[in-house]
């Protein structure tokens, strides 16, 4: 079947199999930043934005995204770097395998969350797992980035 997707601001047409996921599509056009880890759609590593909202690309059917706008970190590098500098200052970029997906969720959180208290932030990001950092440095960096650090 044929679908249309806008990927990182570029309109594209794909001829897909019904079982193909957004992740498969992104790999087919050599997007490296999107990584898979859990094979079950729960770790948050493969997160991309669909119309500005985070989705797990590894388990999101491409057909369902038809007509939508997919954003990966390649398209928001400038903003990612802005946040990234705080992350890096905190030492919170560790193995970084999970980081691109996490950063995209933070971008979405910035636009969609109303209260930036610790609990709301942690709740919004709960689906983005990290095994290295212990999450504390993430929170410190996010609060500095959002200008809500104590």
């Amino acid at each position: 079947m044929k679908i249309f997707l806008k990927i990182n601001k570029k309109d594209m047409e794909f001829d897909i199999k019904g079982s193909e996921t957004v992740y498969d599509i992104l790999k087919s056009i050599n997007i490296t930043s999107v990584r898979k880890s859990c094979d079950s759609g729960v770790c948050g590593l493969c997160t991309v934005l669909l119309n500005g909202k985070p989705i797990p690309s590894c388990s999101y059917l491409a057909a369902k995204a038809d007509g939508g706008h997919i954003t990966t970190i390649e398209a928001v590098e400038e903003e990612a770097e802005k946040f990234g500098r705080f992350m890096n200052e905190e030492g919170a970029v560790q193995c970084a395998y999970c980081t691109p997906g996490f950063v995209l969720t933070v971008m979405s959180m910035k636009d969609n969350l109303k209260n930036f208290d610790d609990e709301s932030i942690n709740k919004y990001l709960v689906g983005n797992l990290c095994r290295c950092s212990g999450y504390q440095g993430h929170l410190r960096a996010i609060k500095k980035y959002l200008g809500v650090a104590e």
């Binding site: 890096n88 919170a92 193995c95 970084a96 950092s133």
Partner: protein, 768 residues
Amino acid sequence: MKEVKKSIPKIDGIGLLKGRPAYTMDFAAKDSLVIKILRSPHAFARIKNIDTKKAEYLPNVKCVLTYKNVPRNIVTRAGQGYPEPSPHDKFILDEYVRYIGDEVAVVAAEDEETALKALKLIEVEYEVLEPVLDFEKAEGHKSIIHPEKECHEMFPIGFNPTKNIAAEYNMHYGDVDEVLKGCEYVVKKTYYTHAQAHVTMEPHCSYSYMDIHGRINIISSTQTPYHVRRIVAEALGIPIEKIRVVKPRIGGGYGGKQALHGEFYTALITSITGRPSKLEYTRQEVFESSYTRHPMKIDVTMGADKEGNIKAIDMHILSNTGAYAEHALTVFMVAGSKTLPLYNKAEAVRFGGKVVYTNHTPAGAYRGYGAIQGNFALESTVDELSKMCNMDPVDFRAKNMIREKETSPIFRIMGEGTEGVDMIVESCKLDYCLDRAKEICGYEYKKKNNKSSDKVRGIGCAIAMQGSGIPAIDMGSALIKLNDQGFFNLLVGATDIGTGSDTILAQIAAEGIGVGVDKIIVYSSDTDLTPFDCGAYASSTTYVSGNAVRKAALKMRDMIIEEGAKQLGCSAMDIEFDGNMIKTKDGKEITLKELSTNLFYSKNQKQLISCESFCGEVSPPPFLTAFAEVEVDTKTGKVDLVDYTVVVDCGTPINPALARVQVEGGIVQGIGMTLFEDVKYAENGKLLNSSFLTYRIPTRMDIGKINVEFAESYDPTGPYGAKSVGEIGIDTPPAAIANAIYNAVGVRITKLPIKAEDILKALKEKEK
């Protein structure tokens, strides 16, 4: 100190954050053969017949391997120095399969779909054998897990495969039984620790290709590229010079990638077919067929005199290494060697036990190995003994724990698989750590919290130590090269697995030479191009590799001064070098930029290179004090961690921000292990929770508040005073949380993970 003790951003941080190609699979050629592994459905079986014809008939299948057509060389995959303290008990493929998930056959195909299809077409007839699934019944079981005649130990480690014993060790000093008899107070407890999964976000993966010289190049997600080179050569029976191993960026290791996993298969497929090949484990394979932490049963007896002085400690351990004995002896020994010296005033100490094979997923290296198990048992017992002595558990620790400039006979007696080295602890701020952590967390107030409501808070303490590399064994080296216009290449074998070691080694190099860190370009972990390093394990990189870098940097500084003197026509004694300008007292000067460019193109032409190695004579322990505050729901037994406070003595933190995150990350893995992470097996030996849905790791909602501080400390043997910091964070959560639960509700949990139902059961029993 200008460049160290400074939180500079990680040098690769922004590139990684932006998702640039950096990891093993990012480098795999598009035309790579895809490797898939057929795995055993039986916990213990012998392959009677295996027919691969139908699979091989598939047009896009290039190669099918079984035990019949691969080299039969027995090795250990442990990824340790040579000779290894782990027995050689693993073939590339074998006719015996020893756990559910063990390798039966290997398929290489043009695409994943074909490889998976081929797996289904392989016909295997098994002789199913009775598995050994209870590690307390493994010794002398009628099923012998390693009946193969080739398996052997590299030096005496108590290996006795006919009894399913992978290793055995016993030591003592003083007469423990006699001293215990004279003790006023004696506590005897048995503890169980469980298997924990590493859960690296990047699955284990390996990619191989053959270069123009016919050499196999392996790009691998490994912590030990040099050991991989040696062990792959040994297993495949090919000359070591035919292999190059490169470690790119790694998506998490925590010990799980110290060992070899897919490298044998990609290397062999590439050597047979001449084609690039890649293998990436599925998440299920990562859980079932890589490693777990060693489960242990630990018996501790500890005695004290009337005044509350610990007089004797007796620790006996039975450890379960699963189907293969990677790190069997060493993990088990560390349970004693990285805990018992904490209470160095004991007159008599005995430590010993056995490590047994079972038909479970193999156990292997995992951050804090042995230490976390031993710490849970020892530090829980210390709390119990303090209560018996009628002393506050924190005061009891302060009275008995090791102090600066002291030693312990354990250092000399116990190494990792061999004898240890004698050592005076030159830096130990444990006393400061204890006082400071107590103050931050409000211990004196919180220990007396109201204990009468349904939700009861409690606070508990544990102290810990680690080492800094394996003394007299672990070696690291560094090479520094001066380039024109005055910048440097730092080449290290050290293996940055996400920890930031490339960054802190650049800081050490910059400090030593006297230049800014922006002048140091780091290249690491390539067996052809970088000098040797044992790899990222045993808390070694900052101390061992860092010392090598410091030596090489100081030598480079001397070389710059010497060459500067020649160009300025004076003696090196008269030269000052401030990192930019080389000048004499009488006003002659040349910049480093000019000097280095002259050295390449116009005057006294030569390449300046310094290369130095370091192998520690001692292994200075970092120390840590932890306080956990919990809230226990007495109606349900549920435990919430409210606050976790640690103060760490890691000597000089080379990069405090990175050191802090190492500690925080370790703590959270330790919390996961304590409260819910639990590798479970079905009755037939199948690992039950092999996905993120069934094996839960901590999320950011699970962990409460974590406070980390560092003590001012300086170890004279460390690079600019540094000791290690990678593992120590993980050691205390089991004991500190168990002690906090005791403080809250008065029940002692001796089995990990600490489950609500166990607390509830203990509370009910207490009521009786």
